[in-house]
C-alpha cells in the first residue's frame, strides 16, 4: 500500500493563504455561470483540487495567485461544458456530487443570487465574441489586471485594451438605453 507523503507545512500554509484570499473569487466566477449551488460547489472544489495538485508549478513572478486560480477555473468550466456536451456529466455528477448541508446550500444560493447583476451583465454582452465577453468578465467582474486577462486569453495587452474598450462602449450604449441592474447603471454613468 502506498504511504502518503507528509505535506510540506510551509507549502500547505502558503496554499491555505492563497485559498483563503481567493476562494470567494473562484466561487463567484462559477456563481456567474451556474444557478445550481451543487454545481457551483463541485466546480469550485474541482478548481482547488487542480490548484493544490499543481501548486509546485505556480510561478508568482508571472502573475498573481488570483490570475492563476481564475485560469484554472476557466479550464474547469471548459471541461465541465465538454463533459456536458458528451452527456457524461450527468452520470459523473450523480456519482460524485459534493455533499452540502443546509447552511452551505444557503450560502451558495445567496452567492448565486448576489451574482445576478454579473450574469445580467454577461447576458447583455451576448452579441459579442466569446473573447470580448471574457475580457469584460475577467477585468471588470473578476478584477484581474488587463495584462493578466490578456495572458489568460492569449492576447497582447494592447489588443486586450482595444477589446475592452469596444465591449465597454457597447455595454455603455446598451445600459443607457435600458439599465436593468446596478452594475449596468455603473456603465451607464461612466
Amino acid at each position: 500500500m502506498k504511504r502518503k507523503q507528509a505535506p510540506d507545512r510551509t507549502a500547505l500554509e502558503a496554499f491555505e493563504r492563497i485559498y483563503r484570499d481567493h476562494v470567494t473569487d473562484v466561487t463567484r466566477y462559477f456563481a456567474r455561470r451556474c444557478v445550481d449551488p451543487h454545481l457551483v460547489a463541485d466546480l469550485t472544489s474541482d478548481t482547488f483540487v487542480r490548484a493544490i495538485t499543481s501548486f509546485a508549478t505556480f510561478d508568482a513572478s508571472k502573475g498573481s495567485a488570483k490570475s492563476w486560480l481564475i485560469g484554472i477555473a476557466r479550464r474547469s468550466f471548459a471541461a465541465h461544458l465538454e463533459a456536458a456536451n458528451r452527456g457524461s456529466e450527468l452520470a459523473r455528477r450523480a456519482g460524485g456530487r459534493r455533499e452540502l448541508d443546509g447552511d452551505q446550500l444557503d450560502e451558495l444560493i445567496q452567492r448565486i443570487d448576489a451574482e445576478r447583476p454579473g450574469r445580467a451583465l454577461l447576458a447583455g454582452l451576448a452579441e459579442l465574441s466569446d473573447v470580448d465577453r471574457e475580457a469584460v468578465e475577467l477585468v471588470d467582474l473578476s478584477g484581474l489586471e488587463p495584462r493578466e486577462a490578456a495572458a489568460l486569453l492569449g492576447l497582447r495587452t494592447g489588443a486586450m485594451r482595444t477589446r475592452l474598450s469596444r465591449a465597454r462602449g457597447r455595454l455603455r450604449r446598451a445600459a443607457k438605453e435600458n439599465p436593468v441592474t446596478p452594475t449596468q447603471e455603473a456603465y451607464a454613468h461612466e
Binding site: E16, D21, V49, I52, A60, K62, A65, Q104, D106, Q110
Partner: protein
C-alpha cells in the same frame, strides 16, 4: 470564510495536503504570505504607530486592539476588526461620528435578509458601492459617490476555523431605502447611511 469554504479547505488539506511536497520556487520560504496580505499587515502596523487605534483591548497587556478606525490623508477610512464581540456598536458609532455612510452588521442566521442585497458590491467589480474589503476589515472610499437611497452595509462574520485560528470574513452590500433588520443603528439612532430617498 463561509461554512462551505471552510469545509472545502478541510477536505483539501486532508485529501490533497500530501500533494504539496514542495513550495513553488517563486514563493520564498521567508515570505509565505501573499503580497496583499503583507500589505494589509503593514497597514495595521502603520495604524498602531499613528496612535489612531480606537478599540479597547480584549487581550490584556499590549496586544493588538480589537478594532481600529482610521482616516487616511486621502480621505479613505479603514476599519480593522480583529474581534467582533462588543466591537460593532463602537465601530458604527465611530463611523457615524466621522460621517462615513456605512454600517457594519453581524452576518449571522438572524440577519437572513443580508441575502436580499440589491448589489454584491465586491471590491473588484465596477462598483457603485464605495467599500472594498480585505481579510482584516474594510475601507470606505469617499471619492466613489454613494447612490441616493442606497444603504451601504458591511456584513462581518467570525468563527473558529478547524485549525483553531479565528477567521473573520467581510462582505459588502447595498440595500435600497432600508438597512437590513440586524443593523443596530436602525433600531436606536436612525440609519448611519445616506438620507433615504424615494425609490428610483
Amino acid at each position: 470564510m463561509s461554512k462551505f469554504e471552510d469545509t472545502l479547505w478541510a477536505d483539501l488539506a486532508e485529501h490533497h495536503g500530501a500533494d504539496l511536497a514542495h513550495l513553488p520556487e517563486s514563493l520564498p520560504r521567508k515570505e509565505k504570505r501573499t503580497g496583499r496580505v503583507i500589505a494589509v499587515a503593514a497597514g495595521v502596523v502603520a495604524v498602531a504607530g499613528a496612535g489612531v487605534i480606537v478599540g479597547p483591548s480584549f487581550f490584556g497587556g499590549s496586544p493588538p486592539a480589537a478594532y481600529a478606525v482610521e482616516r487616511a490623508p486621502d480621505g479613505t477610512v479603514t476599519v480593522t476588526l480583529r474581534e467582533m464581540l462588543g466591537a460593532l456598536d463602537p465601530v458604527n458609532a465611530k463611523l457615524r461620528e466621522m460621517g462615513v455612510p456605512v454600517v457594519v452588521v453581524p452576518a449571522r442566521p438572524d440577519c437572513r435578509d443580508m441575502g436580499q442585497r440589491v448589489h454584491p458590491g465586491p471590491p473588484d467589480m465596477i462598483i457603485t458601492i464605495p467599500v472594498s474589503v480585505s481579510s482584516d476589515g474594510f475601507t470606505y472610499h469617499p471619492e466613489i459617490p454613494t447612490p441616493l437611497g442606497l444603504f451601504v452595509v458591511v456584513g462581518a462574520a467570525q468563527y473558529l476555523g478547524k485549525d483553531g485560528r479565528t477567521v473573520t470574513t467581510f462582505a459588502t452590500g447595498g440595500f435600497r431605502d432600508r438597512a437590513p433588520s440586524c443593523a443596530p443603528s436602525t433600531r436606536d439612532e436612525g440609519p448611519a447611511g445616506p438620507q433615504v430617498s424615494t425609490p428610483r
